[in-house]
Symmetry: C2
Subunit: 208 residues, 2 copies
Amino acid sequence: MKLNYPDGRVFHNNRPSKPSLNTSAKKKLIFGDRGMTLEEEINESNKYYRSHDMAVIYKKPTPIQIVKVDYPKRSKAVIKEAYFRQASTTDYNGVYNGYYVDFEAKETKNKNTFPLKNFHQHQIDHLRMCQKQGGICFVIIKYVTLKRYFVMPADDLFVHWDAQKHDGAKSIQLKDIVDCSIEIKANYDPTLPYIDAIQQLIESGKEK
Amino acid sequence: MKLNYPDGRVFHNNRPSKPSLNTSAKKKLIFGDRGMTLEEEINESNKYYRSHDMAVIYKKPTPIQIVKVDYPKRSKAVIKEAYFRQASTTDYNGVYNGYYVDFEAKETKNKNTFPLKNFHQHQIDHLRMCQKQGGICFVIIKYVTLKRYFVMPADDLFVHWDAQKHDGAKSIQLKDIVDCSIEIKANYDPTLPYIDAIQQLIESGKEK
């Protein structure tokens, strides 16, 4: 079954469990791109980073407004009526080496432009506030068709977001993303080594 | 309606909306203790801290396993079957002045001992991991009957948690909490000024 979140993300809840494989076969399978969503790739990477004491970063649960719950006898509580709520924040946050890390992840099937409508005002506002408090803020953009991944600093996202009002541009060009972002390569252990990009952001921040 | 979360917290979803009051009446009402839960007091404080650019800290949504969703025509999606999931983390995290902040909040009606069963192993594990990454980690404890609030550093919680195995102590004595914690007073603007305690924790950490 597939569920569509109000913001257009797709939620898979009965994806078949992974086949049991030995480690090298598993690595090959992951490395060979088994068609994970960006969210799955980041969740896998976060597991790797936690298990290696490198960072503690989680995806936040989807906020739900609960209206009705049943408490069947000898069985666990069942939510019978609930609604998706609009989130106030981005999806991911955590701590890396003393730094607060906050980001949003978005994917597109486009081969060139990245539509700004993928972002919501509350995500931009939240990233701005976290950045003001000294957090390391960015977005991870995946070009699904191109199989390219970019870590784009929040500052550069803000420039494009704000420019919409003046120039009416509804999207960011790939070449602009390439110019301002750190490109990362999908891999195994971790699936998506985005901490390397965070480290670069921190170092470039220190040079300023 | 009241909902009981699996971990014993109580969820109020149809609490009457606050009466519209002018600011001084509102302050008096809040200051005069209108019986907010600790969660409500922290959420109010977080709103204050965000609106004053002092910190960006949120309570995480309760994790839910969604099984069935209806998409009625001309109406928003309704979740028809879902279950409470065990959280992997603590309830609160965010950023304050460049620091990653992570904590759990617990209240007791006891007047002396604080039962350790209020905490779960996954919360202790998560606090340890965040602390290792340089986060500021603690718990906020509210003695409801005594109207006393304590910010207890995670390190001290770990000592009591680990001691259980050896001395079998199932709770922490109030005097021990007083000894190792920073006491904060309920107030207005913010309702619970726990950032003051975080600042003290940071300063005492620097002295070491």
